[in-house]
Amino acid sequence: MRIVFVICYLILAPFLGALLDGVERCISARMQGRRGPSVLQPFYDLRKLFSKQMIAVNNVQLFLNLSYLIFLVIAGCMLFSGTDILMCLFILSLADMFLVIAASSDSSPYANMGAGREMIQMMAYEPLTLIIAVGFYLSSGSFQVADIIQMSVSPVVFMPGMLIGFMFTAAIKFRKSPFDLSTSHHAHQEMVKGLTTEMSGTTLGIMNIAEYYEMILILGIFCLFIINKNWWSWPLAIVVCLFILFLEILWDNATARLKWQHLLYGSWLVTLLAGGLNLLILMLIK
């Protein structure tokens, strides 16, 4: 069963991620009163990126981007194989570090600024990510994903604050406005393309695929909040995931980009209020 999940993740995650990205761009366009691109647009983009001429400022960037992809895939496989969630989150941060190094490896000041901002973003969301792992441990008595999904009630009952906090941090992870500081999917980027300025063709394609893996991984963690031992919690988890994704798109279209100070203090405040208080209550009742 575990192997089936891992293989499904390995093969389907990029397709599902790209499809969700396409749907997202369509919904975004409709929210702005436009027709928008085709749902399959991310696939066309990827196909084009891999057919472009290879312009690289250095050889190490492609290697570092590949490391980003591979470590993300490992983190995702750990979640979907039902092993340690704490380890999975650590490897997720490690993968992000490779992206930061990849962006700092070239001489473009925009890419370097993007790398700096990505680190600030990591500082902003990392505390809550750890609190969530502890929250899962306190509510289920185990860090193992396989044990967490066998609980008699959904973990969200014990950690509603953490779910709200994680929705906040997921917006940073998905690079959604108002948190798209390091790089943005939209054209209105104040630092050219930030993190991805010097990535082109294949390198950018790999980065996009890695982001699709990451997206499915984050949505998987959202599912973990809902899933319990009853079979009906699985479809419910998927519906909740799609609803959360819709909220993120709505938020993306309704807000303007924040300064990094606001991002950092804002997410720490949310971490403290939603995550910290929830954790405190959980420790008292368990």
Binding site: R25, R34, R47, V192, K193, T197
Partner: protein, 147 residues
């Protein structure tokens, strides 16, 4: 429609335009014209762009910038000159600081005339550029095969 023409990413540069054509280029992104329906993204990054859209004639200060932007774009790539100034130099042609149209500096594939060029004609020019982009990709591929 080929590989390239389904996801063309634009880079817009103002060589010495009066901003009339620039505003019309940005008009193409608005809900009324919505170029994103062709998969077009207005990116600010030459490394990721396929189409270089230039407005205004080239002067001695923007010449090295135009050359650099063009050299930073990965193949296959096309250049669209938007507005009469970018095509020939327009009313500024005789000015001492203007070199003339964009084609005095880099090869131009599509000329979009007008002062200012209308959004409809800009979109039309970009769609024509897409076909050239596909042809260039095919040429690159056959060249690689010969090697």
């Amino acid at each position: 429609m080929g590989v390239m023409s389904k996801s063309p990413w634009l880079l817009h540069y103002d060589a010495s335009s009066c901003n009339g054509c620039d505003i019309e280029v940005l008009d193409c992104l608005t809900p009324k014209y919505d170029v994103e329906r062709f998969g077009i993204i207005n990116t600010g990054d030459p490394f990721q762009a396929d189409i270089l859209l230039i407005t205004g004639g080239v002067n001695s200060q923007t010449e090295p910038v135009v050359k650099q932007l063009y050299s930073q774009m990965p193949d296959p790539k096309v250049v669209v000159a938007v507005g009469i100034c970018a095509c020939t130099g327009g009313v500024f042609k005789e000015c001492y600081n203007i070199k003339g149209g964009i084609d005095t500096v880099i090869p131009v594939d599509v000329y979009v005339p007008g002062c200012a060029a209308r959004p409809e004609s800009i979109i039309d020019g970009v769609i024509q550029a897409l076909n050239i982009l596909d042809e260039k990709r095919a040429a690159l591929k056959s060249k690689a095969r010969e090697k």
